[in-house]
Subunit: 327 residues, 2 copies
């Protein structure tokens, strides 16, 4: 590993759009070494006045929906048609890189990964969801400081990570496949509830007709949900990465959403709430980490948890007992 | 308030089925006075070997669904047709007792409230959800120790309390009204996902036909959800508290569920998991309470939270700063 720089050097490098220094700064926020964390905090403080100017888009969908192919096509569309600078980050704490379904396998985004206005960063390996969420959130800010104006945060639509992504993006896009009636299978209901837009992928050739039916079906399903605080009514579109069709419709949804919520104040308010959410979340995580790793708690945990599980001790009395060990 | 008893006296009273002492023991677990809590823990330890023999049924539904009337009819059915002893508890942290939608207004369960084999306990006033959840969970155990073999835990189907109730019962019953197509409005999707049974209420007279259609609609909606670990396939029934019809079908669902899950081990396993859940939950609550009420944190909180909200400070750096105040 190259020698460490000063916070000023990292910050200046990131702000000038230097990709090598951007990557090294991200590596720094991903590190769990206490000395790296101190340095990372100092870098973040310096770049914070220069962040916030991108549109942050969460993208999710179950494996098989064609997420990488979609991101490649949609990303190239934004670069070429709208002159955007795009950063793509991934949240995938569970991936062992075997399925290749997420960004780890950069070759799945061949043209995007070599484009001068695109930056692709895979999820750090071997991290917990909490660790990935934390570093991804700071990576978004670093990418913004480096001048990227659209940020994709990709996640796999089967676990807990969608909620974490939802809490760090402005717009949440759910990719779905047209299927046979029971399309809702496999995707958690709560994820549909978070979506600001649904795009039915692979809508080409013989798939176009079922995709269009699915579009109508999802659109009426989404109408069952009451409008949220954003006052945005989620859109359902169809697209094909192969034919490069429908990509403009999706981007239109994003820009309409941003326009609406910037006008009604929700956009700014939500980002503020997200900041506070991550403060509380981070406090909770550190509190629990300190408690469960305390030697006195570790020594008694199995016994007490066993008694509680078996109904021999009340959970509330047991908690009080464990706290008694600390004082 | 009558003078305090010893833990032995409370426990002996509860175990003998003395209602006055049961009520006083519940008041004790509801108390937030530290000295009451120590006493409550001692009482709970004594009754714990005698609990666990009831079926715990969570009952929820939006206001207007006829919850009190349903519980009155269903409760009387269990008392009269099955010789059960029934306790009814309520979780409703938000209620100011003005709407009268929850148990506070005992007159809404006139016959049940005076039946010798029924015990009705309203939700404690002015408590947080955490406080109500904790005391309700211990109240369930006290009622079981007092010999009640069916426990209803009632909640309003519009907030966060359903999740708390779901974590303390064996069987979760959702009451719904037949409406016009968009019945799902107003009820959170996640609540349907928790339901072990749905009962369409007020299925009498001209309502019977729409209720039966709604039954079919919900039954097919529930089939979209994959079977959970219980292997139970949720049932949808119709009922009328007015005509006292359909109550046997609901009870059949409960007993079938209990039989299935006791055979496949899920019933016991889930209760154990619930115990552990409440231990972790209680620890988290106490950790956060101690942290946020720490004088050093309180002195700095508004400043730091303001900086984080405005994006002037990273949430993670701010959390580290607050922890620095404690050491």
């Amino acid at each position: 590993m190259p020698k460490r720089l000063t916070p000023d050097e990292y910050a200046a490098g990131v702000l000038s759009g230097n990709r090598v220094l951007l990557s090294r700064a991200i590596t720094l926020v991903e590190s769990t070494l206490p000395s790296d964390q101190v340095l990372a905090h100092a870098v973040m403080e310096q770049v914070l006045p220069h962040v916030g100017k991108s549109v942050r888009v969460g993208i999710t969908g179950v494996p098989g929906v064609g997420k990488s192919t979609f991101i490649e096509a949609f990303g190239n569309y934004l670069l070429e048609q709208h002159g955007k600078k795009l950063a793509v980050l991934a949240i995938d704490p569970t991936s062992q890189r075997t399925g290749g379904s997420i960004l780890g396998d950069k070759t799945r985004m061949e043209t995007l990964s070599i484009h001068q206005n695109a930056y692709i960063r895979p999820s750090p390996a071997g991290k917990t969801l909490g660790g990935v969420a934390r570093s991804t959130r700071e990576s978004i800010l670093l990418c913004e400081a480096a001048g990227f104006d659209v940020i994709f945060v990709e996640t796999v639509g089967v676990g807990q990570s969608e909620t974490a992504v939802h809490e760090m993006v402005d717009f949440f896009l759910l990719l779905m496949l047209a299927g046979a009636g029971d399309e809702l299978q496999g995707i958690k209901k709560g994820i549909m509830e978070m979506a600001d837009a649904i795009a039915i992928t692979k809508a080409d050739g013989p798939n176009l007709t079922p995709a269009t039916s699915a579009q109508a079906e999802y659109q009426s399903a989404l109408h069952l949900f009451p409008l949220g605080a954003s006052k945005w009514s989620p859109k359902v579109t169809v697209c094909s990465a192969y034919e490069k069709s429908g990509l403009g419709d999706i981007w239109d949804s994003v820009t309409e959403y941003v326009q609406l919520t910037q006008q009604n104040g929700y956009f700014h308010q939500r980002r503020q709430e997200q900041n506070l959410h991550w403060l509380r979340h981070s406090i909770r995580q550190q509190l629990e980490e300190r408690f469960y790793q305390h030697p006195a708690v570790q020594a008694q945990w199995e016994t007490v948890a066993g008694q509680v599980t078996q109904g021999q001790k009340s959970p509330f009395a047991a908690a009080a007992e464990l706290f008694g060990l600390l004082s």
